[in-house]
Amino acid sequence: MKHLIPEFEKLKARFPAGFESSLVLPCVRRIQEDRGYVADDDIAGLVEYLGVPRIQIEEVLSYYTQFRRKPIGRFHLQACRNVTCSMRSAERLIDHLSQKLGVAPGQTTPDGVFTLSTAECLGSCGTAPVVMVNDTYHENMSIEKLDALLEELKGQG
């Protein structure tokens, strides 16, 4: 993560003095954006840079759902299964995705292209059902739209 330090320095300048601990979340996010996940030596590097206890970073990585210490597929499909999305057919969508991709939620396709997860409420209930593909919200989904989306993503893959 050392190549990200100049960026981190700029970020640090936006915070008041003494806020090194606060930098853990944004630095971890940036490291994950860069590598796809957070590796063990990223943690060591961040400990050195921020001067926070190593255990704090390990706790943060395990506590928040968005952080991961292992790589996943090229496209992370996160389908919300909370109340409104379930009321608007999310369960059928998730079953369909699972069948189509041949993996259960929590797994990655053997070719490493798709990882399927379920998610809790994404704050998009008005356009339910919602599926995230990496960082992007895909709203008002249906089985047809999902199939089209998968084709498009496979094309990119």
């Binding site: 063990d40 943690i43 206890p53 190593r54 255990i55 704090q56 390990e58 706790e59 395990s62 506590y63």
Partner: protein, 480 residues
Amino acid sequence: MPEIFINGQPVQAEAGQTVMQAALANGFYIPYFCWHPELSIAGNCRICTVQVEGRSWVEISCNMPVTEGLHVLTDSDLVREHRKATMQFITLNHPVDCGICDKAGECTLQDYHFAYNGSASVSREPKVHATKFHDLSERILLDNERCILCSRCVRFTREISKSNALGIKNRGDVSLVRAADDSPLDADPYSDNVIDICPVGALLSKPFLHKARVWYLKPTPSICPGCERGCSVNIWHRKAEWHLRALDPAQNTSIARVTPLENPAVNGPWICNKGRDLAQVFERPRADRAMQKGKPVELASALLAARNLIGEAKRVVILVSSWGSNEELAACRDALNGRFATFIKRDHAPLPGERIEDDLLIRPDKNPNTAGARALFGEASLREPAFEPDTDLVLVWGEGCNFATLPAGAKIIFLNSYLQPENGHADVFIPVSVQTERAGTYTNFAGVVSAFEPCFPKQPTVANAQDVFAAFTQDAVARS
């Protein structure tokens, strides 16, 4: 000084206290798991709830500031109902391991179950499983199923030992206490305190694992000799009435474990790991026969021979042990000082890798009674020993003397507890008792005098150094 009322009784509280502190200080018991007088307030176990009179709900007392005129109830029906519910929540997924758990007999969860719940589980769900017997460090075993996530261990490493070794990973009911990946708990010399403060049998001492049920053991107050702090400790060994009828008598005269003995003047409730390992110090192979130049003799003969050597010598140098108790050191001075040059020997030096000093407990002098010796023999005796050319007798008391540095032609009287080759080279060798075999006091670096009590009897062929010195007085020497 706010006045509050606990169960209707007036209590003088102190400004800034919590209701929990005021209650405990005035003889009212409020149960607690996560609260600890030396740690920050976590307020997560929820067992310490009380009811403010007039309110229809309960609140935790460990975080409730006292205010003038506050009326609280610690044992109302509502409090009892919630305490029982909290116990049901805590034991929801707690394994009934008591039969195989070392903590049984000193377990807060057991005690509170009987005091505040006493019922079988009301849940029909299978218990959630977690890691059992996880190696938290080389010394400590962690059973996550037994853990109630009170976070005392985490707060200890963050606030007291400052190793930041422990944390809680994941969340919800899959939370797990864990050490950081690079195992910093091994490097924390205070790590084992988390075993004491764990209110359940989640954190266990590996050296003590499955050694003995605690109700068969007796704690004897003693002092850790590991450094000049002289932390108060309890040395645990089998109670006389629970002695094992075993072939090896050592089973009944060995140290089962060492724990802190709370002493606000010296160490608070903590000790460092060195104190936990006192068995490794006191149970090294012992010298139990007096000798003259390696030949075993009766103790009386050895004492007589030693007295003769003292009487005949032209110039004597004495190296006293910084592990001698104040009483032994006084006997030595009364008998021999004034006549002979005396130097205080630091029996033990720091081991490679051992922490020298910190601002918690650990002190640089790794001997328990240098201060006591200094008080008796004077500042000058702290210097490196200097041997006048005509020194012809050296009395060495205790370990740590490099015999190669002694004058070549001088005779040697050696008082020692442990088997070492030099015992056989001494002109007179007298085996002496160790700390756990007698009573005495040490003076720590700050001048605090503490007492230790005997745990075990000494062998009849082993002498107490105090008696040996009494045998070396001028009169005794003259008479011999």
